[in-house]
């Protein structure tokens, strides 16, 4: 017990220590937490009427961002899998960082869902035992279950390993490797489940497609490693933790492959819809060409598509992949942002036009909504920053149990 307390204290105190840039970053995030707390209060007291959502477009920015967090959370297994399944030593050493990303992003996603709820106070209706589940009918129930289980798997995996390293124990429990394998399998599962929440709605023409899980997974494979590369490049620049080029290179390969598959999936989807150009193509055509002057999503559609294809070809150039300090982080940031804005601008909002009776609508997010989105992101990134920082201290041996007791 005393060990655990000292683990928590040492972990925490190392996590909040850093240079000026580190504090600037945390303060930057804290700003959004402060402003966001106020806007969140507005939403909790006034209701979802303060967002841009309507009966026509009933999904807001929250759920669009949630899908993106599920991308990254699912993709974090791509750091864990090479280490455990392919015995790559360079990956195994930092696998825990992947699990931390998964943990923080799935928690961020759950927070986004809370903001999406009309009655967050009644969430206990979903608790096992006292609530009423609609199993096996409701895809949302499955999604809630897999997300929470994934969170649990990763929290245990992360803190058990860190604690063991902290107290200097070399041997991990026999259950640990199977546990990690389960977590690896669970990553894609959360994403497939999330895509089923969308694709199970027959009336949403651009979602009710069998390729949606594949589109999600390939976008996860692109945006997740893009963020992970950015984090790893920062980590090895500013901390004592060594992350080899081999790790970055393999992650870049994953992005290239994912973008390639994504291009095929999107191409297949567009062809199937557009060749017959029947009712099911209506949403896509609205997105691509607009409808009677409503063209909010047209330019973003073409820009995003061009950037996806462009990033694929740019990353085929070895010089870009090897430019660890300039071009590669730039391309990774671009991919991360492109997939992020693809969610509201292509996946979610245009899909609501036409409505069941052929009405076309554009979505206008409100300021309160933007700040609530930023609040959730800020909380997520603060958690990610602090836990990653603490974990690095343990991985590099800067935070150790023996050391702590010796200094007393």
């Amino acid at each position: 017990m005393e060990k655990m307390l000292s683990f928590a204290l040492d972990f925490g105190s190392f996590a909040i220590k850093g240079g000026a840039k580190y504090y600037a970053w945390l303060l930057f995030l804290l700003f959004f937490v402060l402003v966001g707390s106020y806007t969140a209060y507005i939403q909790l007291t006034e209701g979802l009427i303060v967002t841009g959502a309507t009966d026509q477009i009933s999904w807001e920015l929250f759920i669009a961002n949630f899908i993106f967090t599920a991308h990254v959370a699912a993709a974090a297994v791509l750091v864990v899998a090479p280490g455990y399944m392919y015995k790559r030593k360079d990956f195994k050493e930092i696998a825990v960082l992947g699990e931390i990303i998964a943990m923080c992003f799935v928690a961020t996603g759950i927070l986004f869902i809370l903001f999406h709820m009309g009655r967050p106070d009644r969430l206990w209706h979903l608790l096992p035992g006292i609530g009423v589940f609609n199993i096996p009918n409701s895809m949302l129930v499955f999604d809630v279950i897999v997300l929470n289980v994934y969170l649990f798997l990763n929290v245990v995996a992360v803190f058990y390993l860190l604690y063991k390293k902290y107290i200097g124990s070399e041997t991990l429990g026999k259950w640990y490797t199977p546990w990690i394998y389960l977590a690896i399998a669970w990553g894609p599962l959360i994403h497939i489940c999330t895509s089923f929440v969308l694709s199970s709605n027959a009336r949403m023409f651009s979602w009710a497609t069998a390729v949606l899980p594949f589109a999600f997974l390939s976008m996860a494979g692109a945006s997740g490693p893009a963020l992970i590369i950015l984090i790893f490049l920062l980590v090895r620049k500013y901390t004592k933790l060594q992350i080899g080029d081999s790790v970055i290179d393999l992650l870049t390969q994953m992005i290239v492959w994912s973008l390639g598959i994504l291009m095929l999936v999107l191409g297949a989807e567009f062809f199937t819809a557009l060749y017959s150009s029947a009712e099911h193509a209506a949403s896509l055509k609205f997105n691509m060409f607009g409808h009677n002057g409503l063209d909010m999503y047209v330019s973003s559609f073409w820009i995003i598509m061009a950037l996806i294809v462009g990033s694929f070809f740019v990353l085929l150039i070895p010089a870009v992949r090897k430019s660890y300090n300039f071009l590669l982080p730039l391309v990774c940031l671009e991919i991360f942002l492109v997939i992020l804005v693809e969610k509201p601008l292509i996946l979610v909002f245009p899909a609501f036009s036409p409505s069941p009776f052929g009405e076309y609508t554009e979505y206008y997010p409100t300021l309160v909504e933007y700040f609530n989105v930023m609040l959730v992101w800020a909380i997520g990134f603060i958690a990610l920053t602090l836990v990653t920082k603490g974990a690095i201290g343990i991985l590099t041996g800067e935070v150790k149990y023996a050391k702590a007791s010796a200094s007393r």
């Binding site: 006034e46 209701g47 979802l48 999904w59 106070d121 209706h125 009423v132 949302l140 709605n201 009776f357």
Partner: protein, 361 residues
């Protein structure tokens, strides 16, 4: 103010109460108004504590309401307590004696609705009668369960241009002078429903050259909305009506996403229902006042139909375009229409099997 309320209370049918009770309700209503209305389990703990300071009984009922389970799964005693609590609260809040019925489904009945689109004149009497009957939010926003679409007659276009052409015209592989029909330049007609409006503003109806199509909840036999609800807050009752327990709904809006008929309405903000316009004869699953953040929809006026009365939209229709009845009774209006008229259902390709039938009379 109290004079007005008294007048309303007097004209409200079936309300018998002493002047003293009335005054008590009015007083309570004032107090609740000050507290920004503890309507529903309005979440915020601060509201709960504010209520506690003024009226402990109300705070108690707010918490009890928040903790209440799915209505269908409650015991009879719990149901009775729940109904009493709601009646007390609504009566106080709206300043008039409000009844909340939980009349059970009828035996051996499957409700069906038939609408004659040839007769409908697009007056929207049904829309407004529905709002009045079912206690929808009146403003900011006004919530309507029935949507009437105005569709242009013969909304087709014809052109003599390029009759013998298609694209791509000159093919490298030779076009052999054979028109590629799949790629004609001006498809005859266009979309017949192009330019359809649901928010039209006409001085007189029916407008020349238009016909009208009212749409409301189709009470599907296989309702996609019920399938997707994560907490079974919405369900199909034995009479075939899709209902919602407003106190169990968590506001996730999956049902709205699933519905191919756009029939569900969400309370994005706190519903605005003025006391004087409130219909005090309510049903738990029907027209009782809703709270912020929950879904609502047409129930074929369950508060009426479970008492063998017709839905309000039917009674309001000036041309008799609407018919309602028991689908299991071969002698009912609806069954006779199904047997003799030209009948269709909306979007049958979704396999929802609506019990709302359109016919041409």
């Amino acid at each position: 103010m109290s004079e007005e309320r008294k007048e309303i209370a007097k004209v409200t049918e079936g309300v018998q109460e002493t002047r003293r009770d009335l005054l008590k309700y009015v007083g309570l209503a004032g107090a609740t108004a000050l507290m920004a209305g503890p309507a529903g389990a309005e979440a915020a703990a601060s509201a709960v504590s504010a209520t506690a300071a003024i009226n402990p009984a109300d705070a108690d009922s707010t918490i009890t309401e928040w903790l209440q389970g799915h209505y269908v799964l409650m015991s009879d005693e719990e149901k009775k307590k729940c109904i009493d609590r709601l009646e007390k609260r609504y009566s106080a809040q709206y300043g008039k004696k409000t009844t909340v019925s939980d009349a059970p489904p009828l035996e051996g009945v499957l409700f069906g609705y038939a609408l004659d689109i040839a007769k409908c004149i697009g007056c929207r009497s049904c829309v407004h009668a529905c709002v009045k009957e079912n206690n929808q939010s009146r403003h900011d926003p006004e919530i309507q369960w029935i949507q009437v679409m105005k569709i242009e007659k013969g909304n087709f276009s014809f052109s003599a241009d390029k009759l013998d052409e298609g694209y791509p015209q000159p093919s490298k592989f030779g076009d052999h002078g054979v028109q590629v029909g799949g790629n004609a330049y001006s498809p005859v007609g266009g979309l017949s429903t192009h330019g359809t409006q649901s928010y039209y503003d006409a001085e007189t109806v029916p407008e020349k050259d238009f016909f009208y199509m009212p749409v409301q909840c189709q009470q599907c036999e296989k309702p996609p909305c019920v399938k997707v609800c994560p907490v079974r807050a919405t369900f199909r009752d034995p009479n075939g009506i899709v209902l919602i327990d407003y106190n169990w709904c968590i506001g996730c809006r999956m049902c709205q996403l699933a519905c191919p008929y756009g029939a569900r309405r969400f309370n994005w903000g706190k519903p605005n229902l003025p006391s004087e316009e409130m219909n005090p004869k309510t049903h738990y699953f029907g027209n009782r006042p809703r709270m912020r953040g929950v879904m609502e929809k047409c129930t074929f006026c369950i508060q009426r139909t479970r008492e063998n009365r017709n839905p309000a939209c039917l009674e309001a229709c000036p041309v008799g375009a609407r018919k309602f009845g028991n689908l299991l009774d071969p002698e009912s209006d609806v069954r006779k229409i199904l047997a003799t008229k030209k009948v269709f259902r909306l979007k049958e390709e979704f396999n929802t099997f609506p019990k709302f039938f359109y016919y041409v009379g």
